[in-house]
């Protein structure tokens, strides 16, 4: 997928101008976290569950060579074809080859962030294939020619009115009323059902891969992924090695975290495990199944200090709780994965040079780490990336010099207190009459949006020490 992460600040600025979308983002930023909190509280032992799953995933990653070998053996035994793709281009060409071998024209696709990452749709379309996204949200943005704004609800940035206009324009179904949301869903169901029944190849992602039996776990509410996995005669699962878990029960333990963290549900409607092609007496199911394992730098992450990021279960909780994400939306991040998890993943899966604005899109509030079901220390990883950014001299020279001066000063507490005391006293004197500053030198960006209240004359540390002395004297 094309990347626009480097213009994050401009993207964000533009996003903030759209009041209607900003209002919807704000609403989702309150409703979805509330639903999650309620679901987590109803669970009773959520912390213990989070600890357990983290230990299992760490164990799986520590021994990934063992579990990958086991998964490969079992998946082959189940009758699958296995493929390995080092990068985007490799995955795309493997998938196209399979489609061409079967002279396929129509592809039904379930939601898959991995194929968003590789830009599979446009690659297959350039080769003349009719690729249709079947998750309702993905379908809407595909029709609109947009990219996902959220990894769970890809079209949540659009209003129902926009979607109504889009459907009236794109679906050749004559004059009709599309009033209620259920009318829109019903129309998409009708259009997509025809495509499902005609598609020769289904493509899905996987929420987990089970090493002990070679099954792929697929979690959806709509059932669209299951239609992709069951109706066409060829099934291709596009996924990555970090989805591998030792046992089926580990996959469903992770599912408990996933559903509650993603949508605040206690349960998704369809949780399916698929092992391979149709068995002898089966009445339906694909005749041929392929699993494509994409690496795209994940094996580098495994050997790096950012390994914990491979524990991400793609629930989107960190997005829903991030003050930056809920203000500017997913498109501002300029690639597949937005929000805190995206600000870590994007530099690691693309390059820091092309996305160093993202680790800075953080207020260090720590909410993402608090709610992350995989217990990933997202603010720490973002800070490490900012550190790398400075070391690689990617941030502006003026900024770097300023930080050097600050670091030098912060390492000398006496001098720091003396100078900040001087500054505070000077500001107090200057602001005595008006009580606040409308403009300040070197802080124009800050004061352009608000006034700085004038300090009261003494720094916090001075007041604190004086009170301590007074208390000791008493």
């Amino acid at each position: 997928m094309e990347q626009h992460s480097q213009t994050f600040l401009d993207n964000a600025h533009r996003a903030l101008q759209d009041a209607d979308r900003a209002r919807r983002r704000d609403l989702l930023g309150r409703l979805v976290p509330a639903a999650r909190t309620a679901a987590v509280e109803a669970f009773d032992h959520f912390e213990a569950l989070r600890r357990h799953v983290r230990r299992v995933r760490q164990h799986a990653l520590d021994n990934l060579d063992h579990y990958l070998t086991q998964f490969e053996r079992e998946a082959l035994h189940n009758g699958n074809h296995l493929h390995y793709a080092t990068d985007d281009a490799a995955l795309n060409s493997i998938v196209l080859d399979i489609c061409q071998q079967h002279s396929a024209r129509r592809i039904a696709k379930g939601k898959s962030m991995v194929t968003e990452e590789t830009g599979l749709n446009s690659y297959l379309q350039r080769a003349g294939l009719d690729v249709m996204e079947t998750d309702l949200g993905e379908y809407i943005i595909q029709q609109a020619g947009e990219t996902p704004s959220h990894i769970v609800g890809p079209a949540l940035h659009k209003s129902a009115a926009e979607i109504r206009e889009l459907f009236l324009q794109k679906h050749d179904l004559g004059a009709r009323e599309l009033v209620a949301t259920s009318d829109l869903v019903g129309e998409a169901r009708q259009v997509l059902r025809e495509h499902f029944l005609a598609a020769e190849v289904g493509i899905i992602g996987a929420n987990a891969l089970v090493a002990e039996n070679g099954y792929c776990m697929l979690v959806t509410n709509e059932g669209n992924g299951d239609l992709c996995a069951n109706l066409p005669s060829v099934l291709i699962v596009c996924t990555t090695v970090d989805r591998i878990l030792p046992r089926a029960e580990d996959a469903t333990a992770m599912l408990r975290l996933l559903v509650r963290s993603a949508t605040g549900q206690a349960q998704t409607c369809y949780t399916s495990f698929y092992s391979g092609p149709r068995r002898e007496a089966d009445l339906d199911g694909p005749l041929e199944t392929h699993i494509v394992l994409l690496d795209n730098k994940r094996s580098d992450l495994l050997a790096s200090d950012y390994r914990e990021m491979l524990q991400c279960i793609r629930c989107g909780a960190c997005l829903n709780h991030c003050p930056i994400y809920t203000s500017v939306g997913g498109h501002a991040y300029g690639w597949v994965y937005p929000g805190p998890m995206g600000s870590v993943l994007t530099p690691l899966l693309t390059s820091l040079e092309s996305s160093n604005a993202l680790p800075n899109a953080c207020t260090a509030c720590g909410r993402c780490a608090q709610v992350c079901p995989a217990d990933i220390p997202l603010p720490d990883l973002l800070r490490d990336l900012r550190h790398e950014e400075v070391q690689a001299r990617l941030s502006p020279a003026r900024w770097r010099r300023g930080m050097q001066v600050h670091a030098w000063l912060a390492g000398r507490p006496r001098l720091y207190h003396f100078l900040s005391g001087l500054g505070v006293a000077a500001l107090a004197l200057l602001g005595r009459r008006t009580g606040s500053f409308r403009r300040l030198p070197m802080a124009g960006g800050w004061t352009s949006q608000r006034d700085l209240p004038a300090p009261q004359g003494r720094t916090f540390m001075r007041q604190y020490r004086r009170r301590q002395r007074q208390r000791d004297a008493r």
Binding site: H52, T86, I140, N213, Y270, R279
Partner: protein, 232 residues
């Protein structure tokens, strides 16, 4: 070349791993213990299962034995379609039921375009999720779970388990005996979507209606209690 891509990936993965012996890995995994499950909404498994079915926006009924289940199916068909037709997989348990007594007209096989209702006999019910577990195969074509407007599922109360770990114990035992089914489907509610402005709509791609009939001695009591707890 695919072989070299595989070799490269395995080499890189190995580089990031500890290279522990398989026996140690297995022992360590066993040492991690069992994950905590969700708290059940009632004291017994049957009631908890039905509470969660209702919370998942399913509808439910109960019968003491199989002839009662046939009547319940007939009542559901009449209420929604004023008809007695449905499609069921080639499950021997379904074939053996006294359909004629209630006038129900099942066709056995995979659902075809234009057919609105299907019937499945679940292998398991999981109380924690309010889900039924169905294996795809001759007894249950996958299309029957996914394509109809309404899906009716029968479940014996002796096939209820409390949590997903217990479900896998049973499923793994089945796999040992019968081999691995192509698909193991946990179904917990009608197909739904919230992709348009976060508004929940049922019948996104799959069934709009999901009706579970629990069969067993205690099923009717459990249903009554479940309705009181779920408030539905």
């Amino acid at each position: 070349m695919p072989v070299s891509d595989r070799a490269a990936l395995f080499a890189r993965v190995r580089h990031g791993c500890r290279g522990a012996p398989a026996a140690d890995i297995e022992a360590q995994l066993r040492g991690l213990g069992r994950a905590p499950a969700a708290a059940l909404p009632a004291a017994d498994v049957a009631t908890s299962f039905l509470v969660n079915v209702l919370k998942n926006q399913g509808s439910a009924n109960a019968a003491e034995h199989r002839s009662g289940a046939v009547s319940a199916v007939s009542a559901y068909l009449y209420a929604h379609y004023r008809s007695q037709r449905l499609v069921a997989g080639n499950d021997p348990r379904l074939a053996a039921m006294p359909w004629r007594d209630a006038g129900v007209l099942p066709r056995f096989g995979a659902v075809a375009p234009g057919e609105s209702v299907t019937l499945s006999f679940a292998r398991l019910g999981v109380a924690e999720m309010g889900a039924v577990v169905i294996y795809t195969g001759r007894s249950n074509p996958a299309a029957n779970n996914l394509l109809p407007e309404r899906h009716i599922v029968l479940l014996d109360s002796s096939d209820l388990v409390s949590d997903m770990e217990s479900a896998w114990e049973r499923i793994n035992a089945d796999m040992e005996k019968l081999g691995r089914p192509r698909g193991v489907n946990f179904i917990a509610g009608p197909s739904s979507t919230a992709d348009i402005e976060g508004q929940l709509v049922y019948g996104a791609h799959g069934p709009r209606g999901w009706h579970v009939i629990l069969i067993g001695d205690n099923a009717t009591d459990a249903l009554q209690q479940a309705r009181a707890i779920a408030g539905r």
